[in-house]
């Protein structure tokens, strides 16, 4: 019955701290695509969702800063321990469903340097200035020399605020996406003719085959077109924001996929029981 005997195969081609490449084969395009969609939009992470601003005399408006704060990736290794706020018993937020981060920077006026144009008096407020109440949820900062810039300040200015980071999924807002990109390719030689390339004169000269082509055999010009062929090798690359390991993103996505299918199966069984007499199923 099933043409993909033996189930899906996976081979990992590279594994790095913030990205991985793998080949998924012997499965249907729809399954590979579901995995891609879930990794992008349904794996939960932590992100700043509420900002209470106490003082802001910087050049950026409150909402501008709040928006920038939301975009900062937060480490979400143990996001499983945190509840969604909507499922929590608290009224607004509590330690079970949120993490507090504070930011307080005041740039003092140094009267000795004031009139010296050679001294750069700009204070760069970055993700390193955010103080988290939870060691496991803090701004991603692998490279301390290149933190994420929030606002630039000059002497005399002050910013003081409290951020509430919450658990969420990217279906609600893209800031919760654990990945910066998921590359997805199949059939690099376009044997299945799913792609229609726009050309001037010669397709082979004007369009490059991707690097994934080394894993496949080139088109044999003498071979007739197989119109029944289906794609079954999918080249995927996952690049994370640093909020969690790439392999964890993939594994979590697979678990979510199982839960989705399992949940529906349970609902179908319930329906069976309820409706046995009505429909005779």
């Amino acid at each position: 019955m099933d043409m993909y005997n033996g189930g899906p195969e996976i081979s990992i081609r590279s594994l790095r701290k913030d990205g991985m490449k793998f080949v998924l084969s012997n499965t249907d395009l729809s399954v590979a695509n579901a995995l891609r969609r879930i990794m992008i939009a349904e794996v939960p992470t932590m992100a700043i969702d509420m900002v209470e601003i106490e003082k802001n005399s910087t050049v950026l408006t409150d909402e501008f800063i709040a928006h920038r704060l939301g975009m900062i990736p937060l480490t979400s290794f143990d996001v499983d321990r945190i509840q969604y706020t909507r499922d929590c018993t608290c009224t607004l937020y509590c330690p079970n469903c949120s993490v507090e981060l504070t930011l307080h920077v005041k740039v003092n006026v140094d009267f000795d340097d004031m009139n010296d144009p050679t001294i750069d008096k700009t204070r760069q407020v970055s993700s390193l200035d955010l103080i988290s109440s939870d060691e496991n949820v803090k701004p991603v900062s692998d490279d301390k020399s290149h933190p994420i810039l929030i606002v630039k300040m000059r002497p005399g200015q002050e910013v003081k605020l409290k951020c509430i980071a919450k658990k969420g999924v990217a279906k609600e807002h893209a800031k919760w996406s654990p990945v910066y990109g998921v590359a997805f390719e199949y059939d690099p030689y376009n044997k299945l003719r799913h792609s229609h390339y726009w050309i001037e004169e010669d397709e082979n000269l004007e369009w490059f085959v991707s690097d994934n082509a080394v894993e496949e055999t080139p088109i044999d010009p003498n071979e007739p077109f197989d119109y029944n062929a289906k794609p079954d090798r999918f080249y995927m690359e996952v690049e994370t924001s640093g909020c969690m390991k790439p392999e964890d993103v993939v594994l979590r996505a697979m678990t979510i996929m199982q839960d989705k299918l399992g949940g529906l199966q349970i609902k179908l069984d319930d329906e069976f029981k309820e409706d046995t007499q009505r429909w005779g199923y």
Binding site: M1, D2, M3, Y4, G7, P8, E9, I10, S11, I12, R13, S14, L15, R16, K21, F22, L24, T27, D28, L29, S30, V31, N33, A34, R37, I38, E42, R86, V169, K171, E172, H173, D211, V214, E247, V250, L251, M254, T255, M257, Q258, K260, L261, G262, G263, L264, Q265, K267, L268, D269, E271, F272, D275, W279, Y281
Partner: protein
């Protein structure tokens, strides 16, 4: 101002059924499944799995409107089975497939991690630059 809440995309409200089955009144052995708060991710997977089944005469889905967060799946089967039954089989098959995919991934992960370690310790051949092609 009157924008719908984004969480309506995936939170099932109280009193709303996740799954509703409506048998077709005109076509024999056909039914429509309405699944709330799900999208192409699940719908397309189900459709393709159903089409693998020789007892399925028709399987198709649609998302009727971009502001409604549900899909409808229409299935017609041969007389010796029912749409609900083949959907159950499709789900079982998919769950098995995803389960084995996850196991394979975990196995591969163990292999890939030991490989990375070998390279870091200077043993073995550095495969990373051979297989890792950055664009």
């Amino acid at each position: 101002m009157n924008a719908p809440d984004r969480f309506e995309l995936f939170v099932l409200p109280d009193g709303v059924r996740k799954l509703t089955i409506t048998p077709d009144t005109k076509i024999p052995n056909a039914a429509t499944f309405k699944v709330e708060k799900e999208d192409h991710t699940l719908a397309n997977m189900l459709r393709m799995q159903l089409l693998e089944d020789p007892k399925v005469l028709f399987a198709g889905y649609k998302m009727p409107h971009p502001l409604d967060h549900y899909f409808v799946l229409k299935v017609q089967t041969t007389p010796d089975t029912t749409p609900a039954h083949v959907l159950g089989n499709a789900l079982t098959e998919l769950i098995q497939n995803v389960g084995s995919m996850k196991n394979k991934f975990e196995m591969e992960l163990i292999r890939a991690r030991s490989e990375t370690q070998k390279v870091e310790m200077g043993e073995g051949e550095d495969i990373s630059h051979q297989v890792d092609m950055d664009f």
